[in-house]
Each structure stands twice: as structure tokens, then as C-alpha cells.
């Protein structure tokens, strides 16, 4: 692994919907093995940013590069590029008509044209690692939310992506299932994966991040290391944002 190697390069991108300017001149470079956590208030454009990175959304201005390649929905080799970027979404997005194993093996076989036997073997290994061996031949509807998200992570991993994008993957889960999914991501961190993670789990963000990006009003307001960001944020906006996660003791009137 080469910490100097630039995996993703985001240069001055802007993106708007109708009148609304969602991303305004964002630049960011992601190095190999780096884990960047993106936080910010609801609607500040975190999902839009991730979606621009794998070409689900087109940027209005600026460029996104994966290695040497330009990422944009309209480039001819966009599917090739997307193979190299894994993405896991907030909603459970497994294919409901396929078993867990089939969900995981579909893209490697149909997109990468890998052999079924080899793909099955790797899928089983990966599913076992996230504790889903027993669920392989079940359908998504038979799984809990946390199990579905773990399967969705495996489905992205089996493509051997160079970078993984996580968009609030625990936000739709019941509280008792959040942990099992975060543990899988911590395990990925130990494997030195390159990851961009959008999350509202602040304790998790602090534990996993190499860098924290605070996004607000379409700008990167802070880009700091987690220790600094969570104890001494540089800006008032970040301080206000972090305060929304803490509660003061209630002083009852007598």
C-alpha cells in the first residue's frame, strides 16, 4: 500500500438541482488506504457528493478522477469505472428476487465475467467473515436490516473495488443492529481499505476516521483529523453541528 498514491481526486466540483446549489467548488484528494468520514447537517449534499464520485450524478462543473480516468455518467467507460468503486446505500438495496449468494455473485459473473466456481468460493469466504454463512441461500426479505446491510457490503467488496463509498449505511437500522454493521466497517479499516464514509454515528466517525470532512452550505467547512475536529472544532458551524449530538442534563423546576 502506498499512502502517497492518489486514488480519487475531486477538483473544484459544483452541482445544483434546479435553483438549488448543493455542492459549491468542492476539492478533495483521497489517498490509498485513507479513511475519510464526511459529516454535516441533513441536506448539505453528502449523498450528492458520493453519487458524483461514482457517476450516478453528473457534476455541473469541475472534475472527478479515479486514477487517470474521468468519472462522469456520460463517459463511455463509466461501467468500467464503477466496477472499481464500491458503493453501499442507506436503504436496503439488495435485489429481492435473488438469494444472498446470488446477490453477491451477480456482478462478478456478469460484469467481470469471472468463473462461477471461483466467485462462489470468494463469496462464501466473504459472507462467512461478516457472519452470514447461514443466510447464503435465503432471500433478502428473510434477513434483518443489519444482515441485509452486511450482505450489501459483501456485494460491493467482491468486485475488488479500489475505494468504497458508504452513504449512511446504518441510518435506517434499528439501534441494536447498528453495531454489527459498524463492526464490519471497522474490520475493513483494519484491512487498509480506502473508504469514504458518510455517517451520523459520531463515536464511530471518531474511531475510524483518518480525516473528517465537515460539509455545510455546499462547502468543505473543515478538513481536520478526528481528534481535533471532535474536541476543538475550528469553526462555529462545526461546533454548533456537534452540539446537536450532545444533551445537557435536565434541570427540573422544583
Amino acid at each position: 500500500m502506498n499512502r502517497e498514491k492518489e486514488v480519487l481526486k475531486i477538483e473544484h466540483i459544483s452541482k445544483g438541482f434546479d435553483q438549488l446549489n448543493v455542492l459549491d467548488d468542492i476539492s478533495l484528494t483521497v489517498h490509498e488506504g485513507e479513511i475519510i468520514v464526511i459529516v454535516g447537517p441533513s441536506g448539505c449534499g453528502k449523498s450528492t457528493l458520493l453519487r458524483c464520485l461514482n457517476g450516478l450524478e453528473a457534476v455541473d462543473d469541475g472534475h472527478v478522477y479515479l486514477g487517470e480516468e474521468t468519472v462522469n455518467p456520460s463517459v463511455k467507460n463509466i461501467t468500467r469505472i464503477r466496477e472499481r468503486i464500491g458503493m453501499v446505500f442507506q436503504s436496503y438495496d439488495l435485489f429481492p428476487h435473488k438469494t444472498i449468494l446470488e446477490n453477491v455473485t451477480l456482478a462478478p459473473m456478469k460484469v467481470q465475467k469471472r468463473k462461477r466456481a471461483e466467485v462462489n468460493e470468494e463469496a462464501k469466504k466473504l459472507l462467512e467473515r461478516v457472519g452470514l454463512s447461514a443466510k447464503m441461500s435465503q432471500y433478502p426479505r428473510q434477513l434483518s436490516g443489519g444482515q441485509k446491510q452486511r450482505a450489501a457490503i459483501v456485494r460491493a467488496l467482491i468486485m475488488h473495488p479500489e475505494v468504497l463509498l458508504f452513504d449512511e449505511v446504518t441510518a435506517a437500522l434499528d439501534p441494536e443492529m447498528v453495531r454489527e454493521v459498524l463492526d464490519v466497517m471497522l474490520d475493513l479499516a483494519r484491512q487498509n481499505r480506502t473508504m469514504l464514509i458518510v455517517t451520523h454515528e459520531m463515536a464511530f466517525a471518531r474511531a475510524i476516521a483518518d480525516r473528517v470532512i465537515f460539509l455545510d452550505g455546499g462547502h468543505i467547512v473543515e478538513d481536520s483529523d478526528p481528534g481535533e475536529f471532535f474536541t476543538l472544532p475550528k469553526t462555529d458551524r462545526a461546533r454548533k453541528f456537534l452540539n446537536t449530538f450532545t444533551f445537557d442534563t435536565v434541570n427540573k423546576e422544583i
Binding site: L56, T79, E83, D93, F95, P96, A107, V111, Q112, A156
Partner: protein, 221 residues
């Protein structure tokens, strides 16, 4: 009970022939409706304003007009007004396809828009191109939803074919009536026996179809 009449001469064969006519007309109409309905449903899901208005009008006509009226218009009306003589069976197929295409189109549109956007996007995110996304992700889901619904439509079409005797086609109900007319004097209970048999024949055709749909629904839900 009147069942003995069925074993006289060719009576039972005539009933079966009538059933054959009804099935032939409904199967051809179902085939046409499925193909055209898929096209119509896909077009309707595109949300093009012109297509939306036109298809709305078409669906309304089909919903408002009794099939019998449509049959009369095509069979009698066209020949009177335009001098085109459309044979009875062809008229029946035209009317049933006109009706079935509307219903099928509506079903297909409903299934298409019920597939959430995230299904497409998570497939794209895996590097699947549009054609593969449709082939492996979207269409299989649509078919699973569509089959039970369209089987329901097929059984309704089979049952509605009894209307075509109104334009002179001898289908199973008409054949039954003819047998009753001819035997009323000799066997007073003929009506019961014949209608019970007709009921049984419809049942034998439609029941397995609806069982199949129930089975598929269970397996895929």
C-alpha cells in the same frame, strides 16, 4: 337430471367444440394483449405528456364501455358505416385485444413504476450497464409481479368470451343453449344438466390457471 342428453349424438362434442372456440379466441386475444400491453405499459411509464393523455383516454373508453357494446360496434357498426365486413371471430379478437391491451398496459405500467429507483442505481453502482440492469434486475422483478396479475386478467377474458354468442359465434354457452332448445320436450331437466356441465367446463379451464397463479404468488412474494 338432464345429463343424459349430453350422451345423445354429438351433443357433448358440440359443447367441447364451443369451448374450443372460446379458448381459441381468448388465447389469441391474450397473446396480442400481452405483447401490446407491454409496449403500452412501457410507453405510459415514460411520463410523456402526449402519451399520458392519449392512454388516459384509451383506458377510460375501455373502462366505461361494456364489452358487449364494443362487440356490436365492431361487428355491426363497422360494416354498416364503413362497409367493411369483419368476420365475427375477428371482431371478437379485436374487441378482446382492445380491452386486454388496456388492462395489461395498466398492469405493466404499475409494475414498472413500483420498482424503486435504488434498484437501478445499486445495479449501476456494481458496474452493470443499462441492458444488464434490465435483464438481470428489473425485468425479473417485473415478471414476478406481473404473472399473477395477468393470469387474473386471462381468466376474466376466458369468462367474458361468453358474450361473443351475441354476434353469432357458437361458443360453449351458445352450444349449450342450442342443445337445450333441441331437447326441451324429451328431457324436461335438460337445462340443468347442460348448464351444470358448462359450469364445470369453465371451472376445469380456469381453476388450474388460478391455482398456478396462487402458487407463483406464494413462491415469489
Amino acid at each position: 337430471m338432464g345429463f343424459e342428453v349430453l350422451f345423445k349424438g354429438t351433443n357433448f362434442i358440440r359443447l367441447l367444440e364451443g369451448l374450443g372456440v372460446a379458448l381459441r379466441i381468448s388465447m389469441i386475444s391474450v397473446g396480442i394483449s400481452i405483447v401490446l400491453g407491454m409496449i403500452l405499459g412501457t410507453l405510459m411509464s415514460l411520463k410523456n405528456p402526449v402519451i399520458t393523455v392519449l392512454s388516459r383516454i384509451y383506458l377510460e373508453i375501455v373502462h366505461i364501455m361494456p364489452q358487449m357494446v364494443l362487440l356490436f360496434i365492431v361487428f355491426f357498426g363497422f360494416s354498416k358505416v364503413m362497409g367493411i365486413n369483419i368476420p365475427a371471430e375477428a371482431s371478437a379478437i379485436i374487441v378482446f385485444s382492445f380491452w386486454g391491451t388496456a388492462e395489461m398496459g395498466d398492469l405493466v405500467r404499475g409494475c414498472l413504476i413500483s420498482i424503486p429507483m435504488i434498484q437501478y442505481e445499486s445495479s449501476y453502482a456494481l458496474g452493470m450497464r443499462r441492458s444488464k440492469t434490465y435483464l438481470y434486475v428489473i425485468i425479473p422483478q417485473i415478471i414476478r409481479r406481473l404473472i399473477p396479475l395477468s393470469i387474473n386478467l386471462i381468466t376474466r377474458m376466458i369468462k367474458t368470451t361468453s358474450l361473443i354468442m351475441m354476434i353469432g359465434i357458437v361458443e360453449v354457452l351458445k352450444a349449450g343453449q342450442q342443445i337445450i332448445e333441441a331437447n326441451r320436450r324429451t328431457s324436461p331437466h335438460v337445462a340443468f344438466g347442460v348448464f351444470a356441465t358448462v359450469f364445470l367446463l369453465y371451472f376445469l379451464v380456469c381453476w388450474p390457471i388460478s391455482q398456478l397463479s396462487k402458487y407463483l404468488e406464494k413462491r415469489w412474494s
